[in-house]
Amino acid sequence: MGRNESTAVALERSVEDEVATLVARHADERGGLLPLLHAIQDALGHIPREAIPLVAEGLNLSRAEVHGVVSFYHDFRTRPAGKHVVKLCRAESCQARGGAAVEAAASARLGVAMGETRADGQVTLEPVYCIGLCAIGPNAIVNGRPVCRIDLGVLDLIAERIST
């Protein structure tokens, strides 16, 4: 077995171990599928395909049911996100404060289309519909932190932050 192959196997095993541990933790929780999927995504950054059968077996569900839930909710990713995640609000209150122009500018400034991850894996730009800061928009959540009153200057700051 070559070195790369063994690393790949080790990685895969660690994903399975991680998922199995989390499944065990949530298996007895009533309606535990969402908390479990959140936990998997928190630990691994996304919900890998190989996690689905493990989750299904642990919670006594069909794989189709688990897949159905993963694909229903916007939050769950089946592929890793970029190193930085910018969730930009598209909702009405931000639009009332110039959100549409900021959205276009953000796409251009960060070099990535809305809903996509940049080719170099550095940043993911995602739409979000309201983060509850509706009088100080346009808003975004950048790596989990709220950013408000976004204009071209603030976009430059965000671009700077994600370049590292």
Binding site: G31, L37, V69, Y73, D75, E92, C134, I136
Partner: protein
């Protein structure tokens, strides 16, 4: 050591309050983190303890804290509660928000906390339900259903196991009161849920919070742990949503807690009969449950004495979008829309004229200033083909393109539809297409399928903008009356109101005055 209060609310943090708090600590002050007072124009806000009381300064930046501490800062506001924006309010639900440390049980108790729960525990469950009925409290999530009736149904439902579910999936743009309350006074919500549990005989409760509210999730989880011994034997836990707007619909929310896709259930059965995990369940919005402690401690009559028509008590109104005094304004029902937008809100932040306001989130109607005489009241808004919803008011200036906003309403419905019913799932997509054709000036030729000889039931040929409008209105009627829940059912409100009040934006040559609905 000087004592100072700085908000740790998510909006305040976005505006820089963490940096200000750190600078105050570095300058030797004792800093207490609070919720937000609710006027974002003066944030980051620092309140300093002085001989005259708590004196506010804001907005303040981190490098100005020395001037705040010696009282020389130029943005000295005096006592916050004496500012006109606050002096006009009646804060029943948000009485403590921005004033107390949200996670201090001592603070909570010192400011009247648990008095409602203690009063409720001295009463029989039926008497608690009666008090809520007498208060006239109606569901603050938007539907406006009488809370006492809902509780009565759950109380009367047979069965040992019952649940209290708090709907904290506040997805409507322009609303943030649930978030502010959970971050600024979480024990108030916990107390309301504990009272509900006592009233209907529930053992366990869930607070379903949307994932877009990380601060609220954290504060609620910590508050639940701190208050566990007080609400026992009632137990509580937080469930986190996963970015689906439709989960704010109560039955979709229940399915989501059960670990399923958040799809809407047909009613009946009502959740009060067959709710979470098939058990009788009271599901109420954050603001509904948070209004209950006041009703029990101050009396149903005190609450019911405020209000307008059949809308009793106070409503935490949220002023959002392009508005000068954006924030949270709690007041009895009945103030006119114009007073709220122009007087309290101060008009637009850009200084341009107001062209439209959307009341009640993405499913609410757009009203022009000609409708500013409407009193803030469930029935008045329903009559005007709108809704107050969760009481968010989003203000737009004269640069807004209302056809674009109508298209966005359909697009949002398409993005967020749970897919269970056809009028919503398909209608929203067709709505976007129809508005696109209107904006393109109608269409020149039938589409390929329509042109097939087999097709006999669709009108072929070219269509003018007016023809497309007829189609759009017909589609809206189908969605309005054919959808399972408010997402598909109310998306026509913003679309039709935009069509009625702003026809020119769609390329329709019709004077606004001629519109009769």
């Amino acid at each position: 050591m000087t004592r100072a209060w700085v908000s740790a609310d998510m909006a305040s943090v976005a505006l820089g309050s963490d940096e200000v708090a750190d600078a105050l600590v570095a300058a030797g002050a004792e800093v207490i983190r609070t919720g937000s007072r609710g006027l974002f124009r003066i944030e980051p806000l620092v309140e300093v303890e002085t001989a005259e009381g708590r004196i506010g300064f804001g907005p303040v930046t981190a490098d100005e804290v020395a001037a705040v501490l010696d009282g020389s800062h130029r943005n000295r506001l005096g006592k916050i509660e004496e500012l006109p924006f606050f002096a006009r309010q009646r804060r029943f639900t948000f009485a403590r928000c921005g004033i107390t440390d949200p996670l201090s049980l001592l603070d909570y108790e010192a400011h009247g906390g648990w008095r409602g729960l203690n009063a409720a525990r001295l009463l029989q469950p039926q008497d608690v339900v009666a008090a809520v009925k007498d208060s006239g409290l109606r569901g603050r999530g938007g539907a406006g259903f009488p809370t006492g009736i809902k509780w009565q149904t759950a109380l009367d439902a047979p069965g040992g196991e019952k649940f209290i579910v708090c709907n904290a999936d506040e997805g409507d743009s322009g609303t943030f009161a649930d978030r502010m309350l959970m971050e600024g006074d979480p024990f108030c919500l916990i107390e309301g849920m504990a009272i509900a549990a006592h009233a209907v005989g529930a053992q366990h409760g869930y607070v379903y919070i949307r994932s877009e509210y990380p601060f609220a999730i954290d504060v609620m989880q910590r508050a639940i742990a701190l208050a566990a011994h007080i609400v026992a034997p009632f137990t509580l836990e937080v469930r986190v949503g996963a970015g689906a707007y439709v989960c704010g619909e109560e039955t979709a929310l229940l399915d989501s807690i059960e670990g399923k896709r958040g799809q809407v259930r047909a009613k009946p059965p009502l959740p009060a009969h067959v709710g979470l995990f098939g058990k009788p369940t009271v599901i109420n919005n954050v603001l509904t449950l948070a209004a209950v402690p006041f009703i029990l401690s101050e009396g149903a009559e005190t609450y019911a004495n405020v209000g307008f028509g059949r809308s009793r008590g106070t409503m935490p109104i949220q002023l959002a979008g392009n508005v000068l005094n954006g924030g949270l304004f709690e007041i009895g029902f009945g103030m006119t829309l114009g007073e709220l937008v122009e007087e309290i809100g101060g008009g637009t932040e850009t200084g341009r004229p107001v062209r439209a306001v959307q009341v009640g989130g993405p499913l609410g109607a757009y009203f022009p200033p000609a409708m500013f005489h409407l009193p803030f009241d469930y029935e008045a808004f329903t009559q005007a083909n709108g809704l107050i919803g969760h009481a968010g008011i989003t203000v737009f200036d004269d640069s807004v393109d209302m056809a674009h906003m109508a298209r966005f309403a359909m697009e949002f419905c398409a993005v967020e539809s749970c897919g269970k019913c056809t009028p919503c799932r398909i209608g929203s997509v067709r709505g976007v297409e129809t508005i696109d054709r209107m904006l393109a000036g109608g269409r020149g030729a039938p589409d390929r399928v329509e042109a097939l000889p087999q097709i006999r039931n669709a009108k072929g040929g070219a269509r003018s903008v007016n023809d497309e409008e007829v189609l759009l209105r017909d589609l809206c009627a189908t969605m309005r009356y054919g959808s399972l829940c408010a997402l598909g059912g109310f998306t026509p409100y913003p679309v039709l109101s935009a069509l009625d009040y702003f026809p020119a934006d769609f390329g329709l040559e019709r004077p606004v005055e001629a519109v009769e609905r």
